[in-house]
Symmetry: C2
Subunit: 169 residues, 2 copies
Amino acid sequence: MTTRWLSPEEQRAWRAYMAATHLLEDAIDRQLQQDAGMPHLFYSVLANLSEAPERRLRMTDLAESLKITRSRLTYAVTRLERDGLVRREDCRWDKRSSIAVLTDEGMAALERTAPGHVETVRATLFDRLTPEQVRQLEEICTGIARGLQGGDAESGAEDVPWRRRSSCS
Amino acid sequence: MTTRWLSPEEQRAWRAYMAATHLLEDAIDRQLQQDAGMPHLFYSVLANLSEAPERRLRMTDLAESLKITRSRLTYAVTRLERDGLVRREDCRWDKRSSIAVLTDEGMAALERTAPGHVETVRATLFDRLTPEQVRQLEEICTGIARGLQGGDAESGAEDVPWRRRSSCS
DNA sequence: TAAGTTTGTTTCAAACTTGAACCAAGACTC
DNA sequence: GAGTCTTGGTTCAAGTTTGAAACAAACTTA
């Protein structure tokens, strides 16, 4: 089959997308690194745990929720554990599982860090979007994410190479 | 000043955004790694060079165009040079500069790889968006990018920490 | 229930990224 | 025209990510 190249509009959108995502992630990473000494991902781990019941989550569920590989999460949690912000516990029911728990110190670190982070997200992203665009962005991103996960939906869940295997359950 | 937290709509958009960008970049990286043995960034270097006049670009300009740090580019070009896909040349007018040039072999690799890449970008992104959403995405991303670069524009170019120093020109 | 499969997690080496430090060449200043 | 600043690029060590392999605990099934 001959390649369906991108249309000019798609080209422009794709370039803008790559530029924006690079710049945004850079800005956020830099702010967090400076003010909290941790990359964005690590912050997200803390944030995610803080919202879970009892501030605890199984490693796999946490990885799934963050859309990252298990091995990447293992690294992050190991580091956060070393810093005392997270603790690992064994799962009582399934001895294979390990549970990441946000410590009080971790919660404190999160609370200390959150305002600056949110401020950055605002300044770099939301303050530049109209409410309508916020809706559009959510709509677009939700669609993309659904397409890339277990989002079996329409086109049938073919086993294409770019689909993460261990998606959700 | 008390923190302006994210509204529920913004929260949803932010989460969807992070999920989508993670999943998308993962999918694209995986496809390129499998089919071309290089990460997305390296592909972008080749693609960018291929469109430049004479297929050559100053390192700094290339970095600027890709929105990445110079040191990251140095690494990428070094690797691509080792693989024979790119070559470095000295700049005649400014002896500090070095110019990255796409070799014929690099162009061939790009042409061989592009269809699969574009197909993935389509399948994961554009095939899931309406033409209207493509426009919206471009608009949104352009705005974000403008805000984060030399895009001095409205809010005055304060020297905020999350702004990349060596922006443009 | 032993053998085989799946699931949850970690480990390890190789690859990549970061940021600060460095070096050299051009530009500016007095 | 020597000192100073800026720009273009690389280097280096420390940090992070990747993917495959290893392990161990469930689960399945003959």
